[in-house]
Symmetry: D3
């Protein structure tokens, strides 16, 4: 059963009655100042996120306990706008009911990149195919021929709350960075193209282990919190080389790890790089990453 176009969150822009379904992404119990409890929800579908509140007559705790977070529910209630003309909408829930798996189409609830995934994947595979450096090409093939890796790479979000925080966000961001790197090589033909493109493709792969996500939610993993993706990405490269016994010249490997490790810019900026970019390719990758992330960031805020 598909959701109706008008019931998607991005279209909830007038005061009216609704009867449709959402993911309950989050639930919190709150005490009203009259001493009664009510429940606050964060509801999501593929188009966004909206706040909802329920003021139950019977015991709020009991209702609260029954709700399965990250499941799909049918919701009845009202779309409200506070303050008037603020374009700030929320939902007051009257009642809800959990849906069985055959009662909804999961695609309606999954927040995902709006770009054409196949085209993004093609950009990466073409880049790998045209690479001349045999060692870097082998390394990339070792990653992308690993079907489990490739699948995760195409699905992973790039953040929990910052830029590209949705399924496919990592792929979308990676291709954005790659395209800017390609233009950089047009402008500066002296750049080591294969090295820069390899760095662009692999620079954020540690995010695969930095988030615990499923189709309807994203959380930072323990590993992501304690080690962060800069280290994890480089470690994944080293592990891949060791596990697949790839023959890559030591110096080449260090150059690749360097541009990945320094892609957050100068150490003294305090943005998390443990070494400052020291080669033209490292400088280029840092600024390409920054451009794609910051422009996306300001656009998502709007």
């Amino acid at each position: 059963m598909f959701k109706k176009e008008e019931d998607f969150i991005e279209n909830l822009n007038k005061i009216r009655r609704i009867n449709t379904s959402f993911v309950i992404a989050n639930k919190t119990i709150k005490t009203a100042r009259n001493g009664k409890n009510y429940i606050e929800f964060s509801l999501t579908d593929k188009t966004g996120e909206i706040t909802a509140r329920m003021f139950p007559n019977r015991d709020a705790e009991e209702i609260y306990d029954d709700i399965e977070q990250k499941s799909i529910y049918n919701i009845m209630g009202n779309v409200d706008e506070f303050p008037r003309n603020s374009r700030n909408f929320s939902i007051k829930i009257d009642s809800f009911q959990k849906l069985a798996e055959d009662e909804y189409d999961l695609d309606d609830y999954t927040r995902t990149s709006l770009k054409d995934q196949n085209q993004l994947i093609r950009e990466i595979s073409t880049t790998i195919k045209e690479m001349k450096d045999p060692y870097l090409k082998d390394l990339l093939k070792a990653f992308f021929c690993d079907k489990e890796f490739a699948k995760q790479f195409y699905q992973s979000p790039s953040a929990k709350i910052h830029h590209h925080n949705y399924l496919g966000g990592l792929l979308e961001h990676t291709v954005g960075v790659l395209l800017i790197c390609k233009t950089s090589c047009e402008i500066f033909p002296q750049l080591d193209q294969d090295l820069l493109y390899t760095g662009a493709i692999l620079h954020d792969i540690g995010k695969l282990k930095s988030y615990d996500y499923d189709l309807v939610s994203i959380d930072i993993s323990n590993e992501g919190k304690l080690l962060d993706h800069l280290f994890i990405s480089c470690d994944m490269v080293n592990e891949k080389i060791r596990d697949n016994k790839l023959e890559i010249p030591e110096d080449r490997k260090i150059q690749l790890l360097h541009i990945m490790l320094s892609h957050h810019g100068d150490v003294q900026n305090g943005w998390g790089s443990p070494v400052s970019p020291q080669t033209p390719e490292a400088v280029a990758l840092h600024h390409a990453d920054n451009l794609d992330a910051k422009v996306k960031g300001i656009m998502q805020k709007r």
Copy 2:
């Protein structure tokens, strides 16, 4: 009379006798610690810069006074390397002689962009031609149909000592930034293309007034030192609009001035923007400028 290939500064890489010509870009008199004076020179040709020293027998002051800075001289002496194997070369001058205008080809001495100037100009003119916003298009045409402006724009350096510090550097940098902006519009089709491209083309025009340069030298002008190019660029836009009585909607003008004025990034970074980038186009221009400048910067250091 052309300089020989082997006599260009970038090729002075072994100890040997020379007899060729350079611009004397700078002269300084220094007292040796034995109480005698000698003269230190900075010599340039189109391929770079080299230090030279002369230890005259007769009075150094007199010789010093006779030298016309920023003129072209024939130099006889030795290329030395100190310390040995350091790849650090300088010249010990035995004698020199000022050349008449017909004794050299000025092109040998002018440090200039190595890019194909026509292609760069074409990139800009095509961009203007394809623009749809009539106001921005008119503004750009008002600038580039002004032959004096266009000539200066194509010749101006982009800096005295930082990135793109040579004739044509401004044009080269501007096109670099423009290309990155074009890729950004590919990645983010929501960006206001015409606004962003206009900002990219005009963002550094204040540099035309920030430098006093001729074919063989670059200095910062008084105006450049006291007002800097961010303000001057915006003032030139305002002046052009007033002088040519261009009809551009107030709001459109403010948006253009905003992305130009904020192109050094967030105010609190202390890089000179008097306002922080607040629109997606402003963020994109700042990062495109930064990418092109920083990659060029590290390449020129090598």
Copy 3:
């Protein structure tokens, strides 16, 4: 009909019943945690600002929609203090009624400088009269003989929420800075008096375009948000010179623009100057501005 002394906001300092009038500067609808809506107001008169809340029996949205923001209303209700002895007062509104124009005296509601405006204006006009530099004198006269400019200059606030955020605040701040500059010239007679005083008088004129204000409210204008007053002030000087065809030596103009443009201090501090103060007059103006603003700032917080 004048407001009674005891009913001005600065005198609402005990729990009691009131029946008097205020500007409704702001209204917001909020959902109480029992699911009901109430309205929160920001009320102002010439002595300050106070928060008020109304818990209507009938539909809050309807009442909310009827209220005309920035108009003057008669309010009936209670002054409350929460927590007790906190000196933190607010109003619980029972009912209100819009007043007709002949039912109030606008002066009771306008937040304005408490200084003697005529004396402040005299300080500026005397300073201009005594100036010896004919070019700077002409420039100042061109501004202040423009009646529209002068009227705005005398009325404009200097900020929305920071120091001097009330009508006449710009004039008051400008004279404060000017007086400190005069003492600075006593201490340091080498300072270029006319240049420094001209800079002091004009340094913040861009604020005229940075705020949209009327007698009862102040907002930041789009131009103020995207270009900020440093740039706008300098642009207004350039525009005045061009429009009035004033003959001011180029070098003199640059020096004036320099001290205006750098009056937020060193670029690397990140306070918004696009150039650092490089002349004694620029250093003096920056610190005079800072002194007047910061002392006012801490006094207004009390």
Copy 4:
């Protein structure tokens, strides 16, 4: 024997022979790169400082050892300018001879404030006389009736290399700050005048113990280096109160110490205040101090 007007350092601005006297403020032995030693001097008189060099024929070490630093010598040699037209003058010494005490007038060699000392002292004594707060007035009198303190206060420099680094510099700076504070009280009549003026007069008294100086030189004392003047100034106030058993209300004392201790501004700026200014008087004193110091600083650099 007075120095001739043309022989004062500020007038040594052409290449010529000289035969006059200076303080030898500093001497250093240096090895010329031909292996020979020469001696470099810093010479001073009341108008400034100049570098000199001597290239002796006989053993430089022996000559060096004989020179008494901080004594007055007659010098014969040449004023040179390197590079030509640089306005950068130094002296090449041929011979020198120590002068007996009756052969010179010490006033010619003492770098000292150019302001009228009596007028500066009068500014301070009038301020004290007009003070109404009996406790602060007593405290100031306890300091300035102490003849030893007063004498030192009138003579002390305010710095070794920064602003006001000459005899009487502390008095000159103190009065500068005081005048700005007086203007601040005109602008902001709510300021606690007596508190602010007392802070202004005493804020830098710790400098009396922070420098070891005599008529011809200034050095930082061990106490100045390890404790700095902020702490020492406050400690001197506490010591004076205890020694003279002054009856000052605890709260008043803390307020005075606060504005002295915080006069370098906000703690987080890292300029040395151990507490941030938290009262209007503390904010005013900080900015008055900063204004006087920074304007003087840029003027002394010229």
Copy 5:
């Protein structure tokens, strides 16, 4: 009457009825959004702090006014957990009753160091006893033989909200720093042991005057707010020396004051030192203090 083990705040970890006693550390009146008032409390006992709320039927203001802050009350009500499974507990109060002094044991309510106080005191006294420098030993004895000082020193908290914010916190922190300094002297035997240990013991004594505390609450004193403990600690050393006419070599005193005054690290960090650590002992004390404070800080957050 002792509190039962299960009724201590650290054990209130399930939803249940309670009837036990707490300190009412803080009370605030708040308006519920239905227009009614309720009271919010901060309750403490020796094991921690918990929030409570009361929604009275009769007039909240009256009840509020009757409550004596910082007194001990018997509380009846419910422990609640919001949201469920959040481990975030609070109390909903039904009724309360002030206890007479003989109805409770004050020890149950006093938040205090969990370390063995005698052992901590012994560490300090042994350190003093073994000291060889007679001047520093005398100084320490002058402090610790002063019974009033010693009593306060053993009881004082070390902060209001940061690390060691409970009775005895200063002693516990001081001994922590002292132990790290002892290990530092093992590693670096060149350190001046007696100087470093004296600095460690005295570095925070100014906190005795920086807090107003009693057995159940801690506030920052006016002196603490306006002068802060760095200055006060050093002033107490100077006062003790003057009052007791201790004979300590000037240089030794300055070295001690230096390591105390600089123990917040480099001036430019903006952490409040008015001088940067310039001796090995000053560097060691700063880092020992930092280690003890930061490790405690992160542990208290858990």
Copy 6:
């Protein structure tokens, strides 16, 4: 042939003739300002470093070319002091002669830790032996039973120019940090001892690959420059676990890597940590490392 006690660099403290041997650590050719060349040397022995200069009569380049850097030479010449009484000594070389391997005792020239190496090693091995966590114990044993690793670990310097920049410096620093961590565990018994000690022992092992050193010189390796020791240390742990197939719980490994990766402190400080310390052990290790490094640093400067 041993060097005489008086001929060690730390004892070269008066002007005299010498005839003894040093490592020529560095040679540079310089042009004297009279146009002649001379050679500048950096000489070392186990007690330190001294500058020397030679002014040859015959061609300096030829002599320069013959000198084998990092070899041991007998030097004849003079110890000089410039300026007199500055305690700043250098050597003027008359002649020198390369020594054969049997003409010197290498121990005289090797800059090495002055601590008892066996005792330091014992501290580490005892710590490992007493560890209870079987996984961390196995990991440490895997490292230290690897004889090649252990040998390098005991010999490696800890820096090129900062603290502990000599052979054995890594071991000395590691034990210093370990001892401070042990004291920290005494103060805070809740710390996870085994985790903290393992982190302390392994935190800088990446320095083994960050320096190219032999008995007489230290350089930063390419790997050290491009990846830095924080990353390399963690990578060595991961590699050891994979190569030795150690069974360590994933969570335990992440905690260990976290405290190693964050030991340069908060990311935003810009000191190179890619993640901020987030556990008590991470905070403790960071501050222990900082204490040992900074105290050593200021001591080595003296």
